[in-house]
Amino acid sequence: MTYTSDEMMTVAAARSLDDRAVCFVGIGLPSTAANLARRLHAPHLVLIYEAGAVGAKPDRLPLSIGDGILGETADAVVTVPEIFNYWLQPGRIDVGFLGAAQIDKFGNINTTVVGDYADPKVRLPGAGGAPEIAASAKEVLVIVRQNTRAFVEKVDFVTSVGYGDGAGYRERLGLPGKGPVKVITDLGILEPDPDTRELTLTAIHPGVSLDQVRKATGWPLRVADDLPTTQAPTDDQLRALRALKEAK
């Protein structure tokens, strides 16, 4: 079956989630990928949504972070303060799954402003739950379409910390979680270099050229010595994804 680059991205993201992991998901791409994983190899994935749903099992994609389907299918519905204080803050979340408007070469995320904070070129929605997810989840996955508007050398505003200015930064700040372990895009997969923490291309999606990825990246992109091609989505995976997106 043929597939779009967005479908490749979503399937690649879904594959990154292990069964029984506890996953804090935002609406949009993260939610789609997490629910796809739940329909494929990870039926016991525990989905936590910031509106207060713990263990949500929606049979269609939630339209908003407070979609009724989340509460109705959850193991537990709790208040918003409880989600952050009892569930995220103590390190109970295995995977924090974030999107980004801008991401830089050290995995820092900006969802606040493009340009100057006091006089912004574009005012973005703001932080939401992301800063504390980025800090406290054991690992962070980022899913974002790759282009030079999004992939900048240095974000205009650090809304959610990745690796700051490089190796040792998270440790100096005492951030409990590991930070972004994978950035999954429509072109490939980036992972932090074990020494420098700079995001490095470690897989490329089928049919995408390295040049194409470099051109979509706002800094001189480092590429892993061994660069595998991502496995294309299987027919089963594509069927599950399409069924999920069509379910009402």
């Binding site: 972070i65 407070g66 509460g71 208040t79 606040t112 005012r123 932080a127 800063p131 504390e132 700040l173």
Partner: protein, 265 residues
Amino acid sequence: MAELLTLAEAVRQLVRDGDTVALEGFTHLIPVAAGQEIIRQGRRDLTLVRMTPDIVYDQLIGAGCARKLVFSWGGNPGVGSLHRFRDAVQNAWPARLEIEEHSHAGMANRYVAGASGLPFAVLRGYVGTDLVHQTDTIKPITCPFTGETLTAVPALNPDVTVVHAQRADREGNVQIWGLLGVQKEAVLAAKRSLVTVEEIVDRLDPKPGAITIPGWAVTCVAEVPGGAHPSYAQDYSERDNTYYQEWDAISRDRTTFATWLEKLK
């Protein structure tokens, strides 16, 4: 016990120019009708507080009711940006909008501190973010036992909090179920409170997942069926996703917004 009033009367009694007002609701149970009544009554210079300002805050801002916004995420959920909010921040139209910006964890804890009668809350948050450089409402605090540095944020104590709920009885006891957001904390943190409800009933039957806010802890209750539209009230209404999409076009342009505003009044 809470006073049972009409929406117009309740807003008249509780919301004054210059007040700090929180209309809370986390996608579910957003008190939109009450927000629009505030616009109709022409309130000015409000400090608007909300974790997730969406359409009704876009409307209040576009209508010129607000001088400041305290928030953690402002957008049209599932659609995109809030154009009136953007126009206010980027172009000071219709007026300059001061912003005080936090994360969800910070805002939620600020309400908890407010509801608890404490001047501040402690959390693990904001570390390494640029948010700390834009406000004096995020400060470090040291644990007196371990010496560890954490983050403190000041309590939120709105002059008025407005929320929407499924139902209340005639004593003004309020019952809410489904996703609960931060509404109870926002009500308990406020000096005065208004709860709009889908219906007033004789008796609040027990309901799984429901919480009750006692009537003596609420100032006013107003029966406003559909008062959360275009958001939803679980077991009463569905989210009107078309309205959210249409708001994008209405709000994008000052003229179409002005036409919408005229009709509202």
